[in-house]
Symmetry: C2
Subunit: 307 residues, 2 copies
């Protein structure tokens, strides 16, 4: 994808995952929030990925990322082993348990943004320690749009740091359950009100197989999820969503409200492809035309005549 511009930066985890799925187990496959987000963003941009791996990280994975148009010059290689997560999904894939989380080289990670990357206009802060997310922002020069993800671990463990981070971003992308936890209330409209009071001017609430909600000012957008007939592996769907969303925004070079709505449908398209394969296999296989086709399928899914 040589025509894509290097206008998007992704910082997050780069992992090797061991997945126990109802359809079988997969050892040490490619994973991590930065990987899924970059591969999804690569349909629209040439993402600059910043993260850390150990010396065990296979050359083949690096080659795959490059082939898909991801700039890996910000991928630090440190003596030791790559972050390894092992998890088991329930038979219906609706829940999962962590079996092992071996941080390895990720334990001492501090993102170093290469000088050449510091002017990147569109920035995604994957789900890592809020202090690291802040460290990234401290190194960036006036990005046009910053989106960030977070999770219950930081909401419970480092709420004050999380709040500092929230004051400095434009878009919070967060799972519904975690949004409720962070807001301390249940009703989703009230949840959005409180999230927006915390700093970001846009909140995107991910609802898995129920789609996503976008809140910006008085505008609310409800995006459907694509009804995937055979879900193989939900790992990375949320990161693909956010990466695809930001990628489209970066390609358009703007984040007005109508562009955001479209970006959410593109993000949902990428997430729907992501879950159709194990690890990144489907994301690394589909074409831009496949993505456009799924976008049109979303339009058909959501359409109804106005009155």
């Amino acid at each position: 994808m040589p025509e894509n511009k290097p206008n998007m930066l992704v910082v997050g985890s780069v992992a090797r995952d061991t997945l126990h799925l109802p359809t079988g187990s997969h050892e040490y496959v490619l994973g991590g929030s930065a990987v899924f987000a970059s591969l999804a963003g690569a349909f629209f941009s040439a993402p600059r990925m910043v993260g850390v791996v150990g010396t065990d990280f296979p050359d083949g994975e690096v080659a795959l990322l490059k082939t898909r148009g991801v700039d890996v010059t910000g991928l630090e290689v440190v003596e030791g082993e790559t972050f390894h997560w092992e998890g088991r999904y329930s038979d219906d894939l609706s829940s999962r348990n962590s079996i092992r989380t071996e941080l390895n080289v990720f334990a001492d990670f501090h993102p170093k943004i290469p000088e050449a990357f510091r002017d990147t206009p569109f920035v995604m802060l994957g789900n890592i320690h809020p202090d690291l997310q802040i460290e990234v922002l401290d190194q960036m020069r006036e990005p046009k749009l910053v989106i960030a993800d977070t999770m219950n671990f930081w909401i419970e463990g480092t709420p004050d740091r999380l709040k500092k981070m929230l004051e400095r971003i434009d878009v919070l992308v967060i799972n519904e359950e975690e949004a409720r936890q962070l807001a301390g209330t249940h009703n989703i409209v009230q949840v959005a009100d409180r999230l927006l009071e915390m700093g970001p001017r846009i909140a995107v609430i991910k609802r898995g197989e129920y789609g996503a909600l976008l809140f910006e000012g008085d505008e609310v957008f409800s995006a459907p999820a694509y009804p995937v007939r055979r879900v193989l592996d939900p790992t990375g769907a949320g990161d693909s969503f956010a990466g695809g969303m930001l990628g489209f925004i970066a390609e358009q070079g703007k984040a007005d409200h109508d562009t955001l709505r479209q970006a959410i449908i593109y993000g949902s398209s990428l997430a729907s492809y992501c879950v159709e394969g194990v690890s990144v296999e489907r994301l690394a296989d589909v074409s831009r035309e496949d993505v456009e086709q799924r976008y049109r399928a979303f339009a058909s899914l959501a359409r109804f005549d106005s009155r």
Copy 2:
């Protein structure tokens, strides 16, 4: 609403509910599937309601139904007490427990469709024993469209009778969890496949605050839910949805696919109003123009530019 046609028949429970809501308790308020569905349908049709009440049923409730345009000549009054349900909702209104279910006169109910009602073209079979739903169909003369609801109680208790009923209807309207139970699988696309194999040519899966899915042939429609800022009482939302949906179909006099999509948005509009008040208070208060306004709000909620 004198201009509405008597083209819709609703059979179901007529109840007096005692509700324990986070905002307070309400004793012996109007409820039942036939009541909510008829009041919702009455925005588009003059619904013919068939059900049974005891001699304790207040004249005021009958008067309310009439005022809203519901034809109550099919409402049987039997010596004894009206069906009474008492339930308690969780603090976030996401679940409820039944405290008491007193069937009373409903225990011996067999729907008698008045001769003048037997040609009604659009029929809703509320959530009652499948044998009673079949009894209704045995009395009707070639309805144009029959929609039915059901629940876990019949899926577990009378599966064979339920299957007989399903062979005779056009549209199954069912909660997502119960759809999964009935289909015996989790993936919602596969669930829909199996429901349609059981007889109905259209399946509508209700997902509460996540909206609804419509499956007809190869067409899938994902309808959003309206983000209600203050939900007071979820009781009757599903019945209002189905009644509003059928009402619109009856008004249009057709059930082609595009009309079905619109009908689902109208049903969702009625459901969203229903939960804004306790019992039927909001449904009995809003106007057709309010319903149109909410329809337009749905359009704004779901819109995104095509590519």
